[in-house]
Symmetry: C2
Subunit: 367 residues, 2 copies
């Protein structure tokens, strides 16, 4: 196989599909059949299948983690800064898999997909997903690819929570985990903001309790929820530096106002409101402490190694939460390292500060 390298990235394969004729069973008991799981792979699986790295995506993106489908694509995959030839997760050495999880709107059967039984979108009838469902979809893809054990499971934010769920649920199938800007549960401040975001979507009459398809694109409720979400991803420092109290040229409108409107409108014109509330609820519901009785118990069977990265201005998953996770892992006998990175970029640092996250990832994958 030859790889076509582009200036800043590479040409990636189109998405692949795993068709589950017998369907997918959700943790809460519902089954959707048939069910399609969309995933992408990057690089090549070696003969003994020991170089597979699972990259877990978060709320907004999908399986297109790196590369461009065509040289003139406007943007490469969402974590192209970390994944690529000669990059942090080096595709010369690694076979990367990224699975679009159930509930997301990016290809895998989701709330906007047509229910063959009715000919209409699942909408309000789509199950409330869990992080375990996300892990299960990844496990199904691993099975299809014949991957018994991941060299590493890597992710940030919700993706980092999936990583931790892998270590807790399938410890024998994971050699290493890298979890960034994530913890074993969302702290109450994040839960509160997420709840408000979901209320915004669900209070929009146009959302019609989830059966809104065919109506206007870009629900106002989802735009507003995204603005709230966006605020929790940005540090005060970044807001101060980027906008301050500046007005838009010649008007009294604050620059931050038009920025938030732009972010809200852009997101809501593309993302499915049913996906939004479900994926965020899954994030809030995950609580390894509650699920396993204690954090120590959650990681008691995990014999791999862990790299936990926090960002000191991340308000959603503060460093102290990651420190608590690190302590629990250490008590559970895991060889875990906690790296707290100083950056003004808040929660989103994992999408910005590649010069800071690349060296520890390279070192950890080599070890």
């Amino acid at each position: 196989m030859t790889v076509q390298l582009l200036d800043d990235t590479f040409l990636s394969d189109p998405p692949k599909r795993l068709e589950l004729a017998d369907g997918f069973e959700f943790r809460h008991g519902e089954r959707i059949a048939p069910f399609t799981i969309v995933y992408e792979t990057f690089g090549e699986l070696n003969r003994d299948r020991t170089n597979a790295v699972l990259v877990c995506h978060a709320l907004s993106p999908g399986a297109h983690a790196a590369g461009k489908y065509a040289p003139d694509d406007a943007k490469p995959g969402w974590w192209d800064g970390l994944i690529g030839y000669g990059k942090g997760i080096d595709l010369h050495e690694h076979f990367v898999v990224c699975v679009n999880f159930p509930g997301s709107p990016w290809g895998t059967t989701g709330p906007a997909s047509i229910d063959p039984a009715t000919g209409t979108p699942y909408g309000s009838r789509y199950p409330w997903v869990t992080v375990e469902d996300m892990v299960e979809s990844q496990r199904r893809v691993a099975g299809a690819l014949g991957i018994e054990r991941w060299k590493a499971v890597v992710g940030s934010s919700l993706g980092g929570m999936e990583v931790l769920m892998w270590a807790a649920l399938h410890p024998e199938r994971v050699e290493r985990v890298i979890s960034m800007a994530a913890a074993a549960a969302v702290p109450v401040s994040g839960v509160a903001w997420h709840l408000i975001g979901r209320k915004l979507v669900m209070s929009d009459p146009a959302f019609n309790h989830g059966d809104y398809y065919g109506g206007e694109k870009g629900l106002r409720g989802l735009q507003l929820a995204r603005m709230v979400g966006h605020m929790t991803y940005m540090s005060d420092e970044a807001l101060e530096k980027k906008f301050g109290r500046r007005r838009r040229g010649g008007t009294r409108q604050f620059e931050v106002d038009s920025y938030l409107e732009y972010q809200g409108q852009r997101f809501a014109s593309a993302y499915d409101a049913n996906s939004y509330i479900r994926v965020q609820a899954a994030m809030d519901e995950m609580d390894l402490d509650e699920q396993f009785g204690s954090l120590d118990a959650a990681f008691a069977r995990f014999k791999g190694r862990a790299l936990l990265v926090s960002f000191d201005t991340d308000w959603l998953f503060p460093s102290r939460e990651v420190a608590r996770l690190h302590e629990a892992m250490t008590r559970a006998g895991v060889d875990a390292r906690h790296l707290d990175i100083a950056t003004p970029n808040g929660h989103d640092a994992f999408l910005v500060d590649y010069h800071l996250i690349t060296p520890p990832v390279v070192e950890f994958l080599r070890s």
Copy 2:
């Protein structure tokens, strides 16, 4: 005059009304006539009128700053913890005045008041108020009471911003200012959250662009805006301590969820949505730096003394903003003191930590 003391407070006079037959002119040029300003007074004005203290209220409350109208009132006035006989602002010594500002829904002619010209509420036609309008309403009451010079002007949050506006606009009429949990402008993070709150109200179809009166009580948009507002008043520490990730007995509902709903519903059932968006916009629009060319220039004519109080967990007006204000005042030659109080109670500390704010207020008023 004899004062009836109750167990924890005192019996206060009913609200007073200043009727402006020729109306009130707003800074942006509109005039409403006739116009009523509601205010309350507490304690007695001394013969040479040197013991008058103006207390400025913030977004939520009105002129009822202290005392109970009747012994069986459920609650006393909003700053009863600081104002009273033997309290921080001691009514044995001081005559306290609190004026309900234009735009507020608590008595002074506001958006919900009936326009005699049409027989319907002003609604969307009510002017967008400014902090200068608030100060002007207080100046009108001072005139009616024959108060040339305030011994002190005191307030917190938006009230603290009014205090600073007094020092900038009418420096000769103010002997002392006490500004708590406030700065000369709202920093961008607060502006962004306020903007989102206003968008929530204005995006509610039931708000009907402001002409919603007669419809359902308790607009969902205002409930949601209050939830957002409430979040910005609470510190993460307080949220963690008060709720954590606890669920409501026997259900999966987060306790913080039912708390936010309760706060939103309680507020929206009483407060006017038109007032909410106008008062908050006034707060965001104030910027002494911009208005006077610099903060130093804003306070150049003020010869009084200043006590500036910040709370170290106040996220809306961080201590560093108050420190910046203090530096500017000092450069402008003002005898200013900045007290940064350590508390887990965030922005709302001025309504909670009376044991911490009372001693410096007593000392400062005596000096």
